[in-house]
């Protein structure tokens, strides 16, 4: 198994609506498993599992407050996603820019292996 880098884990963690809901809720303040399970049809172990996924993705951290283990958001956890999105956005608009420029100036082939859909 390849490393399974943070970007993989972050995207995978965010792909689940329950997990995104947990993050959103944590935005209103740290919360323990019971509190999180309260606003959800899921059972407490399910929430614990989701928290573990979010933790491994770096999106939350668990603390210790008495017998509770409140989860809190980790801002840095979104950085890999943020970065990837920025880079990709740049590349894509690059491509679209080039396409537009190309179409505006001259309707024929440019370098080596471009697409010719006009």
């Amino acid at each position: 198994m390849p490393p399974d880098d943070p970007l993989d884990r972050a995207f995978a963690a965010l792909a689940d609506p329950t997990r995104r809901a947990i993050l959103q809720r944590l935005g209103a303040g740290d919360a323990g498993v019971v509190e999180l399970a309260g606003g959800s049809p899921l059972t407490q172990p399910a929430i614990t599992k989701h928290l573990k996924v979010l933790e491994r993705a770096g999106l939350i951290a668990r603390g210790r407050d008495g017998q509770r283990r409140p989860a809190r958001l980790r801002l840095e956890g979104l950085l890999p996603v943020d970065d990837w999105l920025r880079r990709t956005h740049a590349e894509w608009s690059d491509r679209f820019d080039r396409l537009e420029t190309h179409l505006a100036s001259q309707p024929e082939a440019t370098t080596s292996e471009e697409n010719r859909d006009a």
Copy 2:
């Protein structure tokens, strides 16, 4: 199956490095399955599957060019992700602002086992 909205599908699609590589490669121009499989250790059916996932996520569209079926990027496919990230970012910085204000008034010692790089 519940709705499984576009955001779910987009995040899930992006969670796979092979799929992200395909997107990046498509940034350099449309490509068919054979071309995509060429730069990968995977077989063609595997690529076809990945393309289907990307297509259902709205991140690519398939065309028709002779007997090829080239895939091309779909810029709009990233919009849901973009939106979610923007919204979440806003909410989180909100929370961190409040946290800083709070910390300024009272020091705390709750955390025990996290790796927060200053």
